[in-house]
């Protein structure tokens, strides 16, 4: 903890975007206290109203408070994105580590399967999976996880292969460490910085993909407040009430931007030699 403050002072942009990201997390947690209205309460008599004291950003086509829905939407987006990134990193790394560590037939088999997945244009396949399984946020997560794990598998496999022949691993083995100990204690900690950078850079991408599938109607179902779906509902009123599509889009854009910049900052810290 003693080194934490100087670290943040040295990496100002990283610190700045961490704080912004933290604010987003706080918004999602505190949405019930911040939101002026119930995000699900419909009132057709108050549909499509402009800004007012009661509805700071106006109302949507069902008379729901746009600001409250946006605030609650933060939680939907963040939760789903973190869930997806975690699933992809854990599964991808586990499979990749198995392939890299065991080698031979396991490696060949896993790599052939991963080749098949790489041969799919990711979003096309994700749309098909999500569509076939039926529209729901969970199915969108499954679909995107199914097309994204291979990336982590490939990277972690090559990192493990490069690490497992190092002297300190041999030393640990000779010292009597069991296989799982070697993997958990010596290999994973060494390959994790690269994977963490990858995961951090992927948060923005995954968030965009989730909201894109929701926009198509494959993800969040009404009345869940979700930015992509809100945008898709709002576009029908573009001629008269453009804010219905402008605000949710701005929410997605800002959030993705913050996480992209955070990922960039993290990469500069963990991998400073490379020019980007």
């Amino acid at each position: 903890m003693g080194e934490f403050i100087p670290f943040l002072r040295k990496n100002k942009s990283f610190a700045f975007f961490s704080i912004l990201a933290l604010i987003l997390v706080l918004i999602s947690v505190c949405a019930p206290y911040l939101a002026p209205n119930d995000p699900l309460k419909t009132n057709l008599a108050q549909a499509l109203q402009g800004r007012s004291a009661e509805f700071p950003l106006g109302t949507d086509q069902l008379g729901r408070c746009l600001l409250s829905r946006l605030l609650y939407g933060t939680g939907t987006s963040l939760k789903m994105t973190f869930l997806l990134v975690t699933i992809v990193v854990v599964i991808g790394t586990a499979i990749g580590t198995a392939a890299g560590y065991m080698g031979r037939r396991v490696d060949t088999l896993i790599m052939r399967i991963s080749d098949v997945f790489l041969a799919f244009p990711g979003l096309v396949f994700a749309i098909a999976i999500a569509g076939m399984l039926g529209a729901s946020l969970m199915n969108v997560i499954i679909a995107l996880a199914a097309v994204s794990w291979t990336k982590y598998t490939r990277v972690s496999r090559s990192l493990v292969m490069a690490t497992k022949e190092k002297e300190y691993i041999l030393a640990a083995k000779m010292g009597g460490a069991k296989q799982y100990q070697v993997i958990l204690k010596y290999i994973l900690p060494n390959i994790s910085p690269a994977l963490i950078v990858m995961a951090a850079m992927d948060i923005g991408v995954m968030m965009l993909e989730i909201s894109a599938l929701s926009f198509l109607g494959l993800g969040a179902q009404p009345p869940t407040p979700e930015w992509g779906y809100m945008l898709s509902e709002g576009r029908n009123y573009m001629q008269t009430e453009p804010w219905l599509m402008i605000y949710p889009g701005m929410a997605i854009f800002t959030t993705v931007m913050i996480f992209n910049l955070l990922g960039d900052g993290l990469r500069d810290i963990l991998d400073p030699n490379k020019e980007y």
Partner: protein
């Protein structure tokens, strides 16, 4: 020379053979998806054609569609069909799937093509400028713009452009394909995200090359900056660019589904999204397999073109 050509032919044959397990995997996954999806295809088909599904009728159709056979037998029969170009009949259109897809494909290819060209022009020019004026004002501006570009949801960009040019300024058609101007907004929407990504990557690729010994050597020999850039650096940076082009076809095909839906562009992407909501399984299967085959073939051509760009890359290694 003849030896080289023989080698190339051999390599292409080898790559084509390697496609077989990949295509088997793709078709198997696609088929399994239908199997996992909720809903009875027989019932769906009846409903889609406007018939009320009674239990006897459903059973009859199930038998007729071969749905009562074991999974692998059904996969085998389906696969035999698609090898002959027969993806079954679309529930919604009542026409062969391949026919529906082929009718829709030109619109998507046109949109993907114009987007690819726009993306290349933007990424190449901005990437080069950004690298040459590294850490100057214009470099920062381009980097900020590219950051905005990669964080921007394409569907939002599309709607904003539509709002600005079609609703407010009324200078472009709002959707559909009325005349040539209708392709402008979908193209920009589809190209911008990728152009931003590739501008960044191109900048990095060029900066890496600039630091190489041969560039310093060329400078020492008195070659002008511009001729070094055009003759040496760009030629070397072409390989990562071509790789990106191949991979970007995947994003283009996927992104097209979103952009086509927004602008009601009559391509395969919009068709696929509609097919999903009408639970038209054969059409979705056909769409996935067609897109995957296009993607795989494009990337194979890309791999082969490496050799032309840089003869030092051994073909065997590429596989």
């Amino acid at each position: 020379m003849r030896g080289a050509r023989n080698k190339l032919r051999k390599y292409i044959m080898k790559r084509l053979l390697q496609l077989i397990p990949v295509l088997l995997g793709i078709t198997f996954l696609t088929f399994t998806l239908t199997y996992l999806s909720p809903g009875d295809p027989a019932e769906l088909m009846l409903t889609a054609t406007g018939v009320t599904p009674t239990p006897q009728l459903v059973e009859q159709v199930r038998e007729g569609m071969g749905l009562n056979k074991p999974f692998l037998t059904r996969y085998g029969e389906w696969l035999t069909g698609i090898i002959q170009g027969d993806f079954g009949v679309s529930y919604k259109y009542g026409r062969p799937v391949s026919e529906v897809i082929i009718a829709r494909l030109p619109a998507t290819l046109k949109l993907a093509g114009t987007s690819l060209v726009l993306m290349m022009i933007v990424a190449l020019s901005l990437g080069i400028i950004s690298a040459l004026y590294r850490n100057k004002g214009i470099d920062y501006l381009i980097r900020i713009l590219s950051f905005v570009g990669i964080s921007m949801p394409s569907f939002w960009l599309g709607l904003l452009l539509m709002y600005l040019f079609s609703v407010k300024l009324k200078i472009l058609p709002i959707m559909g394909t009325s005349d040539w101007t209708s392709i402008l907004l979908p193209t920009v929407t589809l190209a911008m995200g990728m152009a931003s990504k590739y501008t960044r990557q191109l900048r990095v690729a060029i900066l890496e090359e600039i630091g190489q010994d041969y560039v310093i050597g060329a400078k020492a020999r008195g070659l002008s900056g511009r001729s070094i850039l055009l003759k040496h650096i760009l030629q070397k940076s072409l390989i990562p660019i071509v790789t990106l082009l191949g991979l970007s076809v995947g994003s283009l095909l996927g992104g097209a589904a979103i952009v086509e839906t927004i602008f009601v562009w009559p391509g395969v992407g919009q068709m696929a999204v509609e097919a999903i909501f009408s639970r038209d399984y054969p059409l979705i299967q056909g769409y996935v397999v067609w897109m995957a085959v296009i993607y795989v073939l494009v990337n194979m051509v890309v791999d082969i073109s490496y050799h032309r760009l840089d003869p030092r890359i051994h073909l065997e290694k590429g596989g």
